[in-house]
């Protein structure tokens, strides 16, 4: 089969791209930039400046950054420890740390709800230890907990993969040239895992920034993120144009965050190479 003929195999996918990727995006742009009566407007975009929306966007960014940082701080040492394990069952140990990722997203939230409830496991333990009950559920902290729990494996995996690709020779060469463990860590290991860190950050930050289910379930309607506002404008308010406008703004934020992170990734290995 020659070159040209084989290219036609991508035909069905081309139809799919146009019909279900590009056309929907055009729809959202249309709703974002036009009124119900079909006239061009920037009001839908400008609605992000509405105090409620602005506050939600700010909170989304804040929680997204906090969640990403916590994930990074938790995942990096773990990836390093897993990579340094010199045991037969290493791949199994890595598998164990990835396994919760395959459990349904909602069930993972349910589990946290159980732990953090007013009469939940955490408070039962605290009370039995003679300590005060603490209220975490329905606060931003609970939302961050849930996000970290949900997205942590997405940070561990790319960093671990980047770590596993570092050849042992680099580390030995650095020691040989006089570097102690700290120098090796900051000058060799961290720079060589940047692409993994970038992938991890994108994979955690984007869903955290745009989440609405976690904040709805663990925030109890009290933690309003931009995702919740958009969701309500479609599912309750029927304000499709404003919802689309806000979605467009959200999309812009996602693109900006990727541009920023990709600027740090000199090798260009991060980004899409998420797996």
């Amino acid at each position: 089969m020659n070159r040209i003929k084989q290219q036609f195999l991508a035909g069905p996918y081309l139809v799919w791209i146009i019909g279900f990727i590009l056309l929907p995006l055009a729809m959202i742009l249309y709703y974002a930039f036009f009124n119900e009566d079909g006239t061009f407007t920037l009001d839908n975009i400008a609605s992000i400046a509405d105090p409620v929306n602005l506050k939600a966007m700010g909170l989304s960014l804040e929680l997204g950054v906090i969640c990403t940082l916590i994930c990074l701080l938790l995942a990096y040492p773990l990836a390093m420890i897993l990579n340094n394990l010199h045991i037969k069952n290493q791949s199994f140990v890595v598998f164990v740390f990835m396994l919760p990722m395959w459990m349904n997203f909602m069930l993972r939230i349910l589990a946290w709800k159980l732990l953090l409830n007013k009469n939940g496991v955490l408070n039962t333990i605290l009370l039995s230890l003679g300590m005060e009950r603490i209220t975490i559920l329905n606060t931003p902290a609970a939302v961050v907990f849930g996000m970290v729990y949900d997205y942590l494996p997405f940070m561990i995996l790319p960093i671990y993969n980047a770590m596993a690709r570092i050849k042992k020779d680099y580390i030995e060469a650095a020691h040989d040239l006089g570097a102690n463990n700290f120098t090796v860590f900051f000058k060799i290991i961290v720079p060589l895992t940047v692409s993994g860190i970038i992938s991890g950050i994108v994979m955690v930050f984007v869903p955290a920034l745009t989440s609405f289910a976690i904040s709805e379930l663990l925030g109890g309607g009290k933690v309003l993120l931009i995702g919740n506002i958009i969701e309500e404008s479609f599912m309750q308010g029927m304000q499709w144009n404003i919802g689309s406008g806000l979605s467009f703004v959200l999309m812009v934020f996602v693109m900006i965050s990727m541009a920023i992170t990709n600027a740090f990734d000199k090798d260009g290995e991060g980004g899409t190479a998420v797996w």
């Binding site: 020779d169 030995e172 060469a173 650095a174 020691h175 040989d176 570097a179 120098t183 060589l192």
Partner: protein
Amino acid sequence: MKKKLINFVDISKSYDKQLVLDEFNLYVLENEFVTLLGPSGCGKTTTLRLLGGFETPDKGQIYFDSQDITYLPANERRLNTVFQKYSLFPHMSIAENIAFGLKISKKSKAYIDDKIKYALKLVNLDGFENRSIDSLSGGQQQRIAIARAIVNEPKVLLLDEPLGALDLKMRQSMQYELIRLKEELGITFVYVTHDQEEALTISDTIVVMNQGYIQQIGTPEMIYNEPENAFVADFIGESNIIDATFIQDEVVEILGVKMPCVDKGFGQNTPVDVVIRPEDVELVEPSEGSFEGDVTSLIFKGVHYELDVMANGYEWLVHTTKLVPVGTHVGIKVTPFNIQIMKKPESADEEAVEIDE
């Protein structure tokens, strides 16, 4: 007399219960170019890694400048290693790679810049400071690796098959480069290779190793011309290694023919191995030779022809510049000086030669 710079004393090391080095003893003199030569699995790389500080022995001590460095971490040792390959840091430029060790020892910027220039000149890569690692050929990468090591002014440079990944031409020119470097720097080189030609070309002293034991230590000439056992003879170049009997001093019986030789002291009627280099086998008229036989194969090798001659039940390997067609009936002659007698090893242990001279 030169002083012993490095001294391995009774070193034993095993991986996964497999003994790699057993009661290993070796010293290296100052300013010597020492090559550890042997097949893979002989323990040569382990020896180098012990010296570099990447492994610790199970038993024994390593002394450097008469100081015990057995457990000293790699970064505190005054020696630097050039690795097999892939050891240049891919996220740094060439200048950053070379400056790595100097920055750690907190040298001034001017000093570092000077050193980078000097080192790049030394390895014939002036002006490569800001190139990326990917843009270099394999040979250039290894030269940068050498530059990165020598700017730290180590007393010893360790090289772990540094030319192994290069093609033949590049390897040869790098060998001359290494010899020149050694002369210019005047430091000790410890070199690991499995390539006997390379070892013969570049070394002052060759240590032939097999299965964790030292087989022979000597200059390239000694190793080539007077191998102490069949392993060394076989490993260093192609040879005719023939079972023989040492009749008495200066007489040896090879393939049923009594021949004069120059060796003494192997006893009387002792089984021995005889080594005859293919270039030392002379082809003569059948009547003039000690052995008679037929040419069974002929290959043109450029500088010489390589022949197999079946004579007295042994297939002789012969290098000659004369064209002798297959099927020719020839005589084989060997001058006494070119017959090298070796003791037969009685056990694996005895294959390791005592090195305390």
